[in-house]
């Protein structure tokens, strides 16, 4: 504090000593102190980002939009945009700072696989196992990924950056962060914020597309209740899924390996303690660290760029394309299915991943048309297959572009 007050050429003694010099030394010290404060260093970009951070927190608290993500991210945005003078190991981009250490888990892609472990330990794949053909909807919605890839290339992004941006279309935050940490680390902040923002806005983005594409008659289709799934099938699913998908896309190993491992912990029945830790405490800790550091990485000086704005536009387009792709494929599937076996096309929208929000949206929209037609159970199948699909898509992008 003394050194701050002293600042420049003035020393502490100058401040303390009496006489004619004391007044000027004090004012010099005070002006130096003022120069260190956030008020002195603030830029318009900081103000904009602080407002964005506050808006995220408002969305989370007022509308309950993905609060577990938006509160840490919003707080991170505020922390990352408090103005400071470089050189004190404070900022997230300064070597040796606390935030920089925590951010290491994002830059090196450590947090996303841990999140996937937790997701695996809390996901019930029963609905998927009981009706495996619904997995096609999860694959169809990945058109969002490849559509965004073409869009990003058309907008002039470099091919690696385009690959990283495309994963926003998978509607899966950890996968998007993982892919961008490998392909375009400089864009992690923008990609993560875009992915999580649109995931939080799924209840706003998807319903209009559903209304536009699915007729009232189609929305009333009732699906056969899923059959009960045996314990053996539930144990076999993560094992077979892990081996098959990773043989096809080995680059997705950290994500899919952890996802299926987490699910095996849950379903094996003998590792309940491990599964419980993975789906509660561990995923919570990693979510806090991931959200906070991703938020803090949005320092106005590196975040508010033309590229970030284009990523936001592409992100919105990718969610729309992915939703439309899922819905359209569900309608096409119905053309080949017998009466009584038809699927409600609304569940196609859940193929975009964004677990479990998009499945909830499907349930909500289904209930609007028929208050007794519960689609949540059916929508969970394309929803979790969307997670697998987006991780496979990310793996393919990595294998093509790394």
């Amino acid at each position: 504090m003394v050194s701050v007050l002293a600042g420049g050429d003035a020393s502490a003694q100058d401040v303390i000593q009496g006489g004619a010099d004391s007044g000027s030394a004090l004012s010099k010290g005070m002006s130096t102190f003022w120069n260190y404060t956030g008020f002195s260093n603030i830029t318009l970009g900081n103000v904009v980002m602080l407002l964005v951070g506050l808006f995220f927190i408002f969305l989370a608290i007022q509308f309950n939009y993905e609060p577990l993500l938006l509160v840490p991210i919003g707080t991170g945005i505020i922390l990352g945009n408090i103005p400071f003078i470089d050189g004190f190991q404070i900022g997230i981009y300064e070597d040796g700072s606390v935030l920089n250490y925590l951010y290491y888990g994002v830059v090196k892609g450590i947090y996303p696989p841990l999140i996937f472990l937790g997701i695996g330990a809390m996901t019930d794949f029963s609905s998927l196992i009981s009706n495996p053909r619904l997995m096609l909807l999860g694959a169809a919605a990945q058109i969002g990924v490849f559509g965004t890839f073409i869009g990003a290339m058309a907008l002039g992004f470099e091919i690696h950056q385009a690959g990283a941006i495309s994963i926003i279309g998978g509607a899966d935050g950890p996968t998007a962060i993982f892919a961008s940490s490998k392909l375009a680390p400089e864009l992690i902040g923008s990609i993560a914020i875009a992915a999580y923002s649109y995931m939080a806005l799924v209840p706003v983005i998807q319903p209009p597309i559903m209304k536009l594409m699915i007729s009232k008659k189609e929305r009333l289709i009732r699906m056969k209740p899923p059959r009960a799934v045996s314990k053996t099938e539930k144990i076999l699913f993560p094992l077979i899924g892990m081996i098959l998908t990773l043989f096809i896309s080995p680059t997705a190993l950290p994500l899919l390996g952890m996802l299926f491992f987490g699910n095996l912990l849950k379903e094996s029945g003998v590792t309940e303690r491990l599964a419980d830790t993975a789906r509660t405490k561990m995923i919570d800790i990693v979510t806090i660290l991931l959200g906070l550091t991703v938020g803090a990485s949005t320092q106005a000086s590196v975040f508010l760029t033309k590229e970030s704005m284009m990523i936001f536009v592409l992100g919105a387009a990718s969610f729309i394309v992915a939703t439309a792709g899922g819905l359209l494929f569900a309608k096409i599937m119905n053309l080949f299915l017998k009466e009584g076996n038809k699927i409600n096309p609304l569940i196609g929208a859940a193929g975009v991943s964004a677990v479990p929000d998009s499945a909830r949206v499907v349930q909500h929209e289904g209930l609007k048309s028929d208050p007794t037609n519960h689609l949540l159970m059916h929508a969970m199948a394309p929803n979790v297959s969307g997670v697998i699909g987006s991780a496979v898509a990310a793996g393919i992008m990595l294998s093509f572009l790394m």
């Binding site: 495996p132 490849f146 002039g156 697998i388």
Partner: protein, 122 residues
Amino acid sequence: MFYMLEAVNWSQIWVITAVGYSVVFAALVLLIFVFKYVPKVLNMQLKRKLIKQGKYVERGDSEEQFIAGEVNAAIGTALGLYFSDLHDEESKIITIKRVERRYSPWSSKIYNINNVLPTTHR
């Protein structure tokens, strides 16, 4: 921008898109096939085991072997409600009762510390 777009090798982009999208489908279609046939294989094994033990009973309708998820959910909810309601029968009357205690020197009011302190009577 147009210069940049011309420099992009678009054939490579289309190949990545087509191959990538096909591989995603291939991976999930493979899983669909596996999980379409896994229950059948498991049931065959169970059938063989039951036939060996002489406990197998032929059923006309193979669809009947599974109970619908909704039925399971209903049974689960009923059991959950039943077990959560299991507790001792209580009078459901909450009140403060005056408890009459038998005399004991340990609870005596005469032999407490206030009364053993020396007092002077003048």
